[in-house]
């Protein structure tokens, strides 16, 4: 009886082991091969990389939760001579061209990395062009963190009252 039970146990173990071994390696998210730029095999794409406290999820929450609407300021608040600052964005921009007299006053959104400040623009009715609106464009960076963006001028959809 004991011999038969032992036989069954061995058989079951063998079958189970065979099944595990025959599962293709591609079934999971782990790739077949993963190497560093020097050709060294890695067990994880994050192996040996330094953690960055500023990019921890609890730190991101200080700014904006991911995939929330891009925090811009709509056209209704644009008219007039006022300096408008945009806080750090955590979601790639999807806005359309808005506003008039938009003047880009600084750069940096696409230059610095990590979670850079988005470019500022001002609404300058004295020196700006009436038909110039502003639109935020994604500039990538591939860091998978908060999105990098820059403001660019664009033809405003509303040129009512503009002289050119």
């Amino acid at each position: 009886m004991r011999k038969r039970r032992s036989f069954h146990l061995t058989a079951a173990t063998t079958i189970l082991a065979s099944l595990i071994l025959t599962i293709p390696a591609t079934a999971g998210p782990t790739p077949n091969t993963l190497i560093s730029d020097s050709g060294k095999t890695l067990s994880s794409v994050f192996e040996g990389l330094r953690a960055n406290p500023a990019l921890r999820p609890d730190q991101w929450a200080k700014y904006q939760p991911l995939r929330r609407q891009w925090r811009g300021i709509g056209s209704s608040r644009l008219p007039g001579l006022s300096r408008i600052y945009f806080t750090e964005g955590a979601y790639c921009p999807t806005s359309t061209c808005e506003g008039n007299y938009a003047v880009i006053v600084s750069s940096g959104g696409c230059i610095s990395s990590g979670c850079p400040s988005v470019n500022n623009f001002i609404t300058d009715t004295q020196n700006g062009v009436c038909s110039d609106g502003a639109i935020d464009i994604e500039c990538g960076g591939g860091d998978a963190g908060p999105c990098c963006a820059n403001y660019e001028n664009c033809p405003s959809p509303s040129t009512t009252g503009c002289h050119r």
Partner: protein, 350 residues
């Protein structure tokens, strides 16, 4: 006077007119071989109407990436369409341990090998940048971690290697200005080559700020393309044309005549054909009442020793009106793939 509103603006208009005149006088240049009135085939591509980060045609596929390019573990964020507009590939790009994963670019080789470039962050905030090969099962098969190099654009060759344009980051995640921007990677050996340090170029100081933009001032101003003989990087902001001869293993940097500096002037498409010809579509909205677009061919300029863009005859005109070019999407062998209106249709030149 009635037609005054249709007068072409300065800027692109000047380039277009000059290009047309020169093109006609040149007569037998390679430009005359491209006749856009002849359409070899066309198809419906609803995807071309969607806003995209970097959607283009390459080696038989319309490549599209979700906007924003954040990937998820259970849904394809990249879609490739075939000549008929049907979905051909839908890879899922995700890595074990990732909290966030975003792509910077997708490329397909002549033989159909699909690669992606991107970056990922884990729960501890560690950032890894990578180039990955997608298998026939539309899952990641081979990965080379490129950190601290961030691949902004990738191009896949049939020998299995991948060329990437990008930049190194320092420990504070800032762009390293004097790092090689062009790299070649192998999924077996890692990085094979690194070249093109912008700080060593003759006009490095003049274009220092321009090179600091990792992907250029706007999407489309920098293009990386390759065929079986050459890897081409064109930076429309600096006017640099970098060509790497794959047979001679030699890199050369040439200057392309400057494009209009107006901020409303944009390169909207770029193509490198199999035979090595380069084309681009331009869009100039400096005059909002007469926005113009056209197709241009890159030609040698014997006077300067560099290159210049010359308008392809019959392609320049008012955007979405008499211009037959809304946007150039890329090359399909030696054919060009372009859109004429914003109607979701793509056309192929003969």
């Amino acid at each position: 006077m009635k037609n005054s509103k249709y007068l072409l603006p300065l800027g692109l208009a000047a380039v277009l007119v000059l290009g047309l005149v020169e093109g006609l006088s040149a007569g037998d240049g390679p430009t005359s071989a491209t006749v856009l009135s002849e359409i070899s085939n066309q198809g419906n591509f609803a995807a071309v109407l969607q806003p995209g980060m970097h959607n283009y045609w390459s080696n038989g596929y319309l490549i599209t990436i979700d906007t924003p390019p954040f990937m998820v573990p259970d849904k394809a964020g990249v879609v490739l369409y075939d000549h008929y507009g049907a979905v051909a590939r839908q890879p899922i790009v995700w890595l074990e341990g990732a909290r966030e994963l975003s792509l910077t670019d997708v490329a397909v080789s002549r033989s159909g090998n699909l690669v992606v470039g991107g970056g990922t962050t884990n729960n501890e905030g560690a950032i890894a940048n990578f180039i990955a090969e997608i298998g026939a099962d539309d899952r990641l098969h081979r990965i080379v971690r490129t950190s601290p190099f961030v691949p902004a654009y990738v191009c896949a060759l049939d020998d299995g290697t991948v060329w990437a344009y990008g930049f190194d980051r320092d420990t504070s995640l800032n762009l390293v200005e004097n790092s090689p921007r062009l790299r070649q990677y192998s999924f077996d050996k890692g990085q094979l080559q690194a070249m093109l340090d912008p700080s060593t170029l003759p006009d490095a100081q003049a274009f220092r700020e321009t090179w600091r933009f990792s992907r250029g001032r706007y999407p489309g101003i920098i293009s990386l393309r390759c065929n079986s003989k050459t890897v081409v990087l064109y930076n429309g902001g600096t006017g640099d044309l970098v060509e790497y001869d794959l047979q001679r293993n030699h890199m050369s940097v040439s200057k392309v005549a400057a494009l209009p500096a107006d901020r409303m002037f944009h390169i909207t498409g770029f193509a490198l054909t199999d035979s090595g010809e380069m084309f681009a579509s331009f869009h100039d909205a400096a005059n909002t009442k007469a926005i113009v677009s056209g197709l241009f061919h890159l030609e040698r300029d014997s006077a300067s020793g560099g290159y210049k863009w010359r308008a392809v005859p019959g392609t320049a005109g008012l955007y979405l009106k008499d211009s037959p070019i809304e946007r150039l999407w890329g090359a399909d062998g030696d054919k060009l793939v372009f859109s004429r209106l914003k109607d979701g249709r793509l056309y192929w030149t003969k």
